[in-house]
Amino acid sequence: MFNKKRLENSMIALKNGDDSQFDIIYEETHRLVFYVIYSVLKNKTDAEDVLQQVYMKVYEKIHQFTDSPKAWICSIAKNLALNFYQKKAKEKVSFVENIKDIPENNANLDTPLIDLASRILEEDEFNIVMLCVVEKYKRREVAKLFNLSTSGVTWKLHHALEKLRRELHKENEKS
């Protein structure tokens, strides 16, 4: 759970040149940021790269911060993840034209359920599940972050968990 005021104060202090606040900002946000990136890229190594870029960008652009720290950082994360994704897609095309590509194995063996969730759920469904179920965010907080209504979050959460349960059931039957 996050302390909204504390984070906001740290962002303002960083904006005013107090670098020591970066620690708090990172601690308060990195899990959320990672989910947002991962929901787009669905690849842990790539998500780690983008996670680094996000905090570099936060540091560089802190003077532009005005309010809603989490939403602001999330929008940076989403943009960078999408840029990364597009860039990689382009590179892949040109790479395949020249050299036979080696298929990448993106599966995360240690976290099979999260891996499954990221594969079968939509981006916002995945984020909602991770934030509401794992990080214990309130639904209205998640709604605010992703510009949804609270009932929309409730519905999507229910729908996503159901989807996940069905898929898990299917996989268990197969094995």
């Binding site: 005013n16 620690d23 989910y35 680094q52 540091y59 532009q64 790479f95 099979p112 359920l113 969730a117």
Partner: protein
């Protein structure tokens, strides 16, 4: 369903990586240093105490000998305090313009004549007293009438020697001063104080000595000047913070590139397939463009990556410095110009102009020039002030010359297109 949720929570513990150290390294952030040892802190406290005592002694000494005030009013209004050795012991600006006049000159400990000449030269340098009929007023105030007259005539003589006929006399107050039985200097001061504080009556003012009157004048001016000074310094600090942040980002990027190059060098000899190497190059150096089919030697490829980034960092450094320079110059120009024209806008607009685009090639000379010009014009547009338009159109002409020399790809870059839109918007607004 409960098991499913439990499982998600369990997995999430290893799922989210902690990249704190790498991120801190890349932005150049260091944790706070450990506290000083007792020994060192004792030495520092002792040094600090000695420093404080010395400055207190100096301060007391200056206060005890300070005995005259000189006020100079051009448009900038400043006050000098001089001691019985005719040396300047303190200077204050009595308006925002005065702050700029004093900003880059040091008058402390100078003989009053020398200090006046420095002030006049600085005022001329800043665009004041440019016309033939330019005037300024000088007044001296001392509790001793005789001494006051002596100082007044000396300063008038000094200024007149520099620019004959420039001093506007206070003749209109002579009669009134005689009528009230006070010196001309005090009369002029009372008039200035009453102008600054409309609640003060002449009867009240007459009961005050020159120090008390000067204190009211300064206090009134300071409310405005201090407010401005605080904002001005805060904004300059913000610019310097931004500069330091950019420098740290640069250092961080440099450290990452160096690390990646080291990694590649270490594994190069043991690599079996060049594809693996290309994969790493793509991942580590996304800005670097090359064609894997044209690579015959991987060591050569490494060398070209190294030289690409060397050049990239030199340019980045240039841009960071240029960015600070133009922003400070532009901000100072804006507030100075506004102060001159009585406009109360001293805000600083930070902008997003400083941005290095990831070009798939090394920047050419013309491309670098274009990026610098975009940065400069952007800053001027954002901090628009009277007089900025001329500079903007001058720089834009230069921009048009340089943009003709760059590739079509560069011209079509989002950054360049955005800038052109910003410029068009600026022109439209200017027309309005």
């Amino acid at each position: 369903m409960r098991n499913l949720k439990k499982q998600l929570v369990k997995e999430s513990k290893t799922f989210v990586p902690d990249l704190k150290d790498q991120i801190y390294q890349s932005i150049g952030y260091r944790k706070m240093r450990p506290k000083l040892s007792i020994k060192r802190s004792l030495v520092y406290s002792l040094m600090l105490s000695i420093g404080l005592i010395l400055s207190l002694l100096t301060f007391l000494n200056l206060q005890s000998v300070s005995n005259s005030y000189v006020i100079i009013e051009i448009n900038p209004m400043v006050e000098l305090e001089i001691n019985n050795k005719d040396k300047v012991t303190d200077v204050s600006s009595l308006n925002v313009d005065g702050f700029f006049l004093l900003e880059n000159i040091d008058l402390i400990d100078k003989k009053i004549e020398e200090a006046l000449l420095i002030l006049l030269n600085e005022a001329e340098k800043q665009g004041y007293l440019q016309t033939e009929d330019s005037k300024l007023t000088v007044s001296a105030i001392n509790k001793n009438d005789l001494l006051e007259t002596k100082i007044a005539s000396r300063i008038k003589e000094t200024v007149e020697k520099h620019r004959p006929g420039i001093v506007r006399s206070h003749d209109e107050w002579k009669e009134k001063a005689a009528e009230l039985g006070i010196s001309l200097g005090k009369m002029v001061l009372i008039n200035q104080v009453m102008g600054a504080d409309s609640n003060l009556t002449i009867e009240e003012a007459l009961t005050m000595d020159h120090k008390a009157l000067m204190a009211i004048l300064k206090e009134n001016a300071q409310t405005k000047v201090e407010k401005f000074k605080e904002q001005y310094r805060k904004n300059l600090k913000q610019l310097k913070n931004e500069y330091e942040r950019n420098q740290k980002v640069l250092e961080g990027k440099r450290a990452i590139v160096e690390n990646h190059l080291e990694t590649l060098k270490t594994i190069l000899s043991s690599l079996k397939k060049p594809e693996q190497f290309f994969r790493l190059v793509d991942r580590f150096f996304p800005e670097f463009y090359y064609n894997p089919t044209e690579v015959s030697n991987l060591w050569d490829l490494l060398e070209s990556i190294e030289s690409y980034y060397e050049e990239y960092f030199v340019f980045y450094d240039e841009m960071v410095n240029d960015n600070l320079e133009i922003k400070i110059a532009s901000y100072r120009a804006k507030v100075h110009e506004n102060a001159k024209n009585g406009i109360d806008d001293f805000n600083l607009v930070l902008d997003d102009a400083f941005w290095l685009i990831d070009l798939p090639n090394k920047y050419t000379k013309a491309e670098k020039d274009v990026l610098k010009l975009i940065n400069r014009i952007h800053v001027l547009i954002n901090n628009n002030y009277r007089g900025a338009s001329e500079k903007i159109s001058f720089l834009y002409k230069e921009y048009l010359e340089k943009i003709a020399l760059v590739s079509e790809d560069f011209r079509q870059n989002e950054f360049v297109l955005n800038f052109e839109q910003v410029y068009r918007d600026f022109l439209e607004e200017s027309d309005l």
